[in-house]
Amino acid sequence: MLAVALIANSLSAQHLTDSLHKLPEVVVTEHASQKHVRSTAPIQQLNATTLTKLNAIHVSDAVKHFSGVIVKDYGGIGGLKTLSVRNMGANHTAISYDGVAVTDIQNGQIDIGRFSLQNVEMLSLNNGQNDQIFQAARLFASASVLTIQTKRPSFANNKTMEGTAVLKVGSLGLISPSVATSFRLNDNWSLSASAEWLKAKGDYRYTLQYGADSASVEKRNNTDVENLLVESALFYTNHKQAKAHARIYYYQSERGLPGATVFYNTQYNNKQRLFDNTFFVQGYAENAISPTLKWQANAKYNAARVRYLDPEFLSGEQVLDERFNQNEWYGSFAMLYRPIANLSVNVATDLSHGRLTSNRTPFDTPSRWLSQSVVAGKYVTEQLTVIANMLYTQTFESVKQGTPANNQQKWSPYISFSVQPWQSLDLRFRAFYKNIFRLPTFNDLYYPSTGKRTLLPEDVNQLNLGVSYTASFPHRIKHIMISADAYHNNVSNKIVAYPDNNLFIWSMYNLGKVSINGMDVNAEMLAQLSSQITLSAGATYSLQDARDKTNPTSALYNHKIPYSPLHAGSGRLSLATPWVDFGYSVVWSGKRYYMGYNKPQYEMMAYADHNITLAKDWTTSLGRVTLSAEVLNILNNNYQLVRNYPMPGRSYRTSISIHF
């Protein structure tokens, strides 16, 4: 969450700025660790410095270090990766990229393996929602939010240009050059531009176990990936209250989709390809009208194309070539009003229009107008924060042919608080309640034969109770932070596929109910071992007990839901010395079932994935040069996150970067 940010934090801890009376939204401090501790809803953060030590190159690698998450990872660099938080399913996790939600109206799940960490300043995961109420309505509208904050141009010593160039080379045929630059145009304007290309062959050997007495070493094929990401952003600030930025983003990817390791037939099902093209432009502006009134506006246009190609559909006589295009327009306007010093109120309204087209026939060509509005209030003192809001959602569904799905209207309340009982002790208690839902996706509603137009939104109720403690010391251990949150979630009207029409075809129903009890524990520490050596360490632990409560007469009733380990966690440690920086990280998980029916034969083994990094910095005339070397999955374990999708064994990565 904050490991090395703590260094900066502990240095400035003594002169914490109280911005209470400076900003229209009452935000007491902005320090990462303070944010973590003060937040009324759990927030976990990884900053750029920590991210470099996590053996992570994509967002999907890094989020495994958050507590309470399950990353569904089909293995390898190109494999699809989605993020489920506290067992509610990936559709309930919103991804915010620089303040604007990334959406997928087709299936609602965002592949987080596509986001590079190269240009990321901060990665945050909020359960419930962010404490910053001055934001678009859409960011209130999910059960949890993963926020990807990109780097902002910053110029040291009156430089007008800064940049970083990186080359990564590694096992699995990985090669990835990237460059990020920023230019100061004048006092008010700056520009950033970056590009990253990644190519990997991705094939690896793994051991396939056919049973107790039979195994073979096989090669994972069709795991190649080639990505290109180009991004540019323009920033404006007048150093008073006005801020604006605009971003243009293009991503393209071609990858193999390695199938499951089908016993005795591993080479089949290994020809499918996925092509992605995503383009968006988004803009943001905010300004103050008066000391107590402020507005912000967001706009985005997103165009995403997906092409799925199976050249050997049903063993080779046919080709399946499906293309789906989605377009979305999005606009948001928010006003923040601060009637008294401790209270602020935000009113935000968002409107978007999304449309899905395809080369499939017949295809309904669905589109949706989505209107979301929120009224949020926040009351803050040094020792107490209370937030409450109500979100209203209305959809208008239409189709080019056939019958459109039902329109939906929903009211969604949220309330949270954080209290510090003793002023001298940075111990805070927090709680939140959130009632939210996810809309049926276009696949849920319209997918030929399985889709159901009458589907209702899938509801979740979340209740969280937590405690956080932070302390700074003058001695060797400089800083510690610990938080523990217990939660109860329930998911109802869960959208599940259920066999229909004689079991050959499945349809979507609002059938599922899941009850989840769990606990997340996060701990951080920073120690100054000597004048030159600092140690930072972090650990997370997740306890999750997610049970099927759908039907009391079913054999599955009260069984644990698939892919949900009771125990899981992560750890990391980094040692900064004048000679070399050393980093170690581990992600582990206990046993879990791949079936909703819990019997030992459906169990998946526990695993731990250990990684180490060595890094060294030099200051040269060209700039600061960093060389790093990583060993990933040291134990060379082909563990599986999704059954029959083995992960790569031990692999190596080196990178050289120059900051100029």
Binding site: V262, P499, N502
Partner: protein, 351 residues
Amino acid sequence: MKKNLFACLLLLATTLFVACEKESSTPIEEITPTTGLFILNEGLWHQSNSTLAFYNLETKKDEKDLFSLVNGRTLGDTANDMIKVDNRLFIVVNESSTLEVVDIETGKSIRQIKLTDENGKPRMPRQIVQDGKYVYITAFDHTVTRLNISDFSSQSIKVGLNAEGIEVVNGKLYVACSGDWNAGYDNKLYVVDIASFSVERTIEVGLNPSMIAKDKDGDVYVLCMGNFYDVTGSFYRIDTKTNTATKIDGIVGSEVEIKDHTAYIIQGAYPTPGKVVVFDCKSDKVLRDLVTDGTEVDSPYALSIDQFNGNVYVTTSTYLEPGDLYCFSAEGKLQYKVEEVGIGPNTIVTK
């Protein structure tokens, strides 16, 4: 005459020797030579967790994963069909694209045959029948493979798209070719002459023909699945003497098995509970529901008829949990139930 001889031969092969003699004269419910049941469970797609279970009727005990226990390896991915030939089980495993030949006494795999085409591509076998000398295997690569059961030599011929159900009648193979949603569903039975091993003719039936069974007169009954969209399923009878198809109205089903002149059909789709009905092949009419004692069978999935005593085995599946096996007398009274035989129990063979 020839037809009767053939029926007798088939019985001979699929059951034990005594069957043929007893078949016509002995009343059912006598001492049954059926000593156990092999139940093939397909498992979940791409989980490679198909199982072969064995239920011992004498000890009332079952071994849920006989194949893995004996062979130290699992059966593979999506085992689709199984038949008994002499003292061996022939099991086709769809996604693994294998044929396992298993000793019926020990459960040991005598041979695993990879079913691939001349380019090494998996055929993805679906269903299997036999005529005492050969087994005939339909496959997703639009072929029927004929495999000699003594030397395992084989040859294949192309039929229609996605060959599914298959029956042997009077030296001919009747093959249901379903097509699929991508290429378009087909509506034909392919008739293959066994002697020349070539397609002789096609017979038009309903859209998406999948399941097939034959009665004692050699009439072939076909369940067609429709397109799951605007064309519903249908049911056809083919007179194999004239090769003419007749549609039988009012039946939409997912599985059909026939003993003599009585067909058992699984009907119904969620949210309507599925059920097994008894159908008379002489009058082409549904006679009654199979179950007459009020036993509730949730989500019937597959059925099989004991050729000795006429008992009807019905399995259940939701794919979410292991299914159960129910044994009903021909009169529809529950004889016994075996719980949790495996995921997706699709074939039952008597020992």
